[in-house]
């Protein structure tokens, strides 16, 4: 038993990420071990597939259609963006109850900026309008988040209390911005952030995005393998690498294909054709939506947040603090500063979600984001973020948001009443966390 690190390299079990401690030799187990896929994540995807198929059958075949899936992706993005930040907060054993209210006040600020204040200086329809509005929203979000963080970290008020106060205060502040008046419409470029017929990038650009993502996947697998070989670490078998690459690329292409199968409404397409002197072919003009802008924003945020949580010092500290705050402190981590940074990021993500929500409504209302905190927390928790701290992934939270939204929108399609919808979502949340607890106990 001496120095076995090299001897065991061909055996993938000890190095495998999934926590199954006993190697069973079934083909599924072998596949999971070789690809090092997270079984928990796979379980979630399976659950999502089940939900989709179930709704598809019970709604009479309208759930798994390009149109519904496209709308689903747009509806998910606002919650998913905030859920990526909520992961970091819950991982460090904090909570943020104020995100919906912060979204509301930031949406109002951005709305008033572009509809009333900025036009005085740069004029209506200025190309700078959406950038400035968003920048101001992000700055205000960062300030609000930092304020929460400072009170939590330095004044030692529990996050639950600080953000409960924020929940009330910022909702009031949202009303105060215009004393309750709804601001509309938004700047045209800004409104693209909300999706809609024009707020999508079209089929060609969508395929370009898909090709880029596939290239990144392949490059990531290749460079990961090269790194591991450089340091003589255990390598995945080639067939596993190829399978992973093919699966990931196929999923990407399939998603884009769905987005590209959803055509513009025929009247909008006809108007567009008229305006641009395009002859309308027989059977109508097919113009694809492609990926919606808010979905692109959400994907960008998810990639960025994954990068921050996995590849930076800050991310490492977040997870270390969550697992054992005392150990992190003793290791010399400035835990207070990290806490302030986490809440600052959360505030900025609220601004992004606020922009998406406001743009989608094409109006800023002081009620925007009501109950969002509940859905955001639920998305993070369904996505595997543990309230005991230290555990959670950004990808899981995005998937969790998708599950929540699928349930909501599926029940709407089936004509379920709102009160019953809430009952179902509540039960699903509790059951999901219970199943997760069972899974973790077994995994130990």
């Amino acid at each position: 038993m001496s120095a076995p690190n090299i001897a065991t390299k061909s055996d993938p079990v000890p190095s495998s990420q999934n926590r199954a401690s006993h190697a069973q030799s079934g083909p599924i187990r072998r596949f999971l071990n070789a690809t090092e896929l997270d079984t928990r994540m796979l379980g979630m995807i399976a659950a999502l597939a089940l939900v989709w198929v179930g709704f598809h059958i019970f709604s009479g075949g309208v759930f798994i259609t390009p149109r519904n899936l496209w709308n689903l992706s747009v509806q998910t993005s606002s919650t998913a963006v905030m859920a990526t930040g909520m992961v970091l907060i819950i991982v460090t054993r904090n909570i943020d109850l104020s995100v919906g209210s912060v979204l509301g006040v930031l949406g109002m600020i951005m709305g008033v900026m572009q509809a009333e204040i900025l036009p005085q200086f740069i004029g209506f329809g200025s190309p700078l309008m959406w950038i400035l509005s968003l920048a101001i929203g992000l700055a205000a979000g960062a300030a609000i988040g930092a304020l929460h963080g400072v009170i939590i970290a330095y004044l030692r008020v529990p996050a639950f209390i600080v953000t409960l106060g924020g929940y009330l205060a910022w909702r009031g502040a949202a009303w105060w911005v215009t004393t309750g008046r709804t601001v509309a419409p938004m700047d045209q470029a800004f409104a693209l952030m909300g999706g809609g017929t024009y707020g999508a990038i079209g089929s060609t650009a969508s395929w370009v995005v898909a090709a880029f993502v596939c290239a990144v996947i392949v490059w990531g697998l290749y460079s990961g393998r090269k790194q591991r070989r450089r340091f003589n670490f255990p390598l995945r078998p080639i067939w596993a690498e190829v399978t992973l690459g093919v699966l990931a690329c196929a999923a990407t292409l399939a998603a884009v294909w769905v987005a590209n199968s959803y055509e513009w409404p025929s009247r909008v397409a006809a108007r567009y054709a008229q305006a641009n002197n395009i002859p309308i072919p027989e059977g109508g003009l097919f113009i694809a939506h492609g990926i919606a802008v808010p979905v692109l924003i959400m994907l960008g945020v998810a990639v960025l947040m994954t990068f921050i949580s996995m590849r930076t010092r800050f991310g490492r500290y977040v997870f270390a603090m969550g697992g054992n705050p005392e150990a992190a402190e003793l290791a010399g981590i400035n835990t207070r500063r990290v806490t302030v940074m986490i809440f600052t990021i959360m505030g900025m993500l609220c601004a992004v979600s606020g922009a998406i929500t406001t743009a989608r409504l094409n109006a800023a209302t002081n009620a925007a984001g009501t109950y969002d905190e509940m859905f955001v927390i639920a998305a993070a928790v369904i996505g595997g973020t543990s309230f005991n701290g230290g555990v959670g992934t950004v990808a899981g939270a995005v998937l969790g948001a998708l599950v929540m939204q699928s349930l909501k929108s599926g029940m709407v399609l089936m004509g379920v009443d709102t009160p019953l919808q809430n009952i179902v979502v509540g039960i699903v949340l509790v059951v999901a966390v219970w199943l997760d607890t069972l899974y973790r106990q077994r995994a130990k």
């Binding site: 000890p14 670490f233 997870f319 270390a320 697992g323 003793l330 010399g332």
Partner: protein
């Protein structure tokens, strides 16, 4: 002799109180390069509090810390690490949900040219040092919470010695270990001592202390009963110091000693 040189560390008249309770009361102790000083005493005698002052986890109320004769400013664990003081805590203080490499480099991560974490390099370094410390260790990708007590211990020790510590504080390093692992820790201490590292060894296992220490310091109720060279005193005499606070003739009495009539 050792006593002629400048001590590596001198703690002078350290006081630490929580509310009205004096956890550490006017304690002075020193440590020379290549020396192991055992600190013994009952639970609650103030051993852990004393060393937490040195490691920066607690801030002292009074007293001075000198490192190589110069007064040192230690207000938090980062300061202590900057002086080359590394600590292995009784509770191990490992971050449970990240792997061995992440723990080893916690707070001092290696970075790539892009400023991102260089996990591969960190794992490579971890494999190197763990290969020396605990050749049986192979669960490099597992969160340390899933490791055995001995494996967690070796992670904590690896973290303490990897960064060229000059002063090592070990708080009950063998409490969680089986006999074979305890022996490994003993060998490690001798090896580090030979490298000229000064070690404070906190333990309430008096056999460990006699096996490994050059000097023994006894604390009782937050006060220093006395210090003695291990070879000059018997285990019974040290037990007398621990239980009764009675200082044998071969020991240097401290402020906490009961003066014999």
């Amino acid at each position: 002799m050792l006593e002629k040189a400048t001590p590596l560390v001198e703690l002078q008249h350290i006081k630490l109180a929580f509310g009205g309770i004096h956890a550490v009361d006017d304690v002075s102790i020193d440590l020379y390069p290549g020396e192991v000083v055992g600190i013994v005493g009952h639970n609650g005698a103030g051993k852990s509090c004393l060393i937490k002052v040195l490691s920066g986890a607690y801030q002292r109320d009074e007293g001075k810390i000198l490192i190589e004769g110069k007064e040192a400013t230690i207000n938090n664990p980062r300061d202590a690490k900057a002086y080359g003081i590394e600590t292995i805590y009784q509770t191990l203080a490992v971050a449970d949900n990240v792997d061995a490499a992440a723990n080893l480099f916690l707070g001092r991560e290696l970075k790539t040219g892009w400023g991102t974490l260089d996990d591969v390099a960190m794992e490579a370094e971890t494999r190197k040092i763990m290969g020396r410390l605990n050749p049986n260790f192979e669960r490099f990708k597992t969160p340390v919470v899933a490791l055995s007590g001995g494996q967690r211990q070796s992670v904590a020790i690896a973290r303490a010695i990897y960064f060229n510590a000059r002063i090592l504080i070990m708080d009950e390093p063998t409490a969680a270990l089986g006999p074979q692992e305890t022996q490994q820790v003993g060998e490690l201490i001798r090896q580090l001592k030979a490298d000229g590292i000064g070690i404070f060894l906190i333990s309430h296992d008096i056999h460990d202390v006699f096996d490994l220490s050059d000097r023994v310091a006894v604390m009782k109720n937050g006060r220093m009963v006395g210090t003695a060279r291990t070879e000059d005193v018997t285990k019974d005499e040290v037990l007398g110091m621990i239980i009764l606070g009675k200082c044998p003739p071969a020991a240097v009495p401290g402020p906490g000693a009961i003066v014999d009539a």
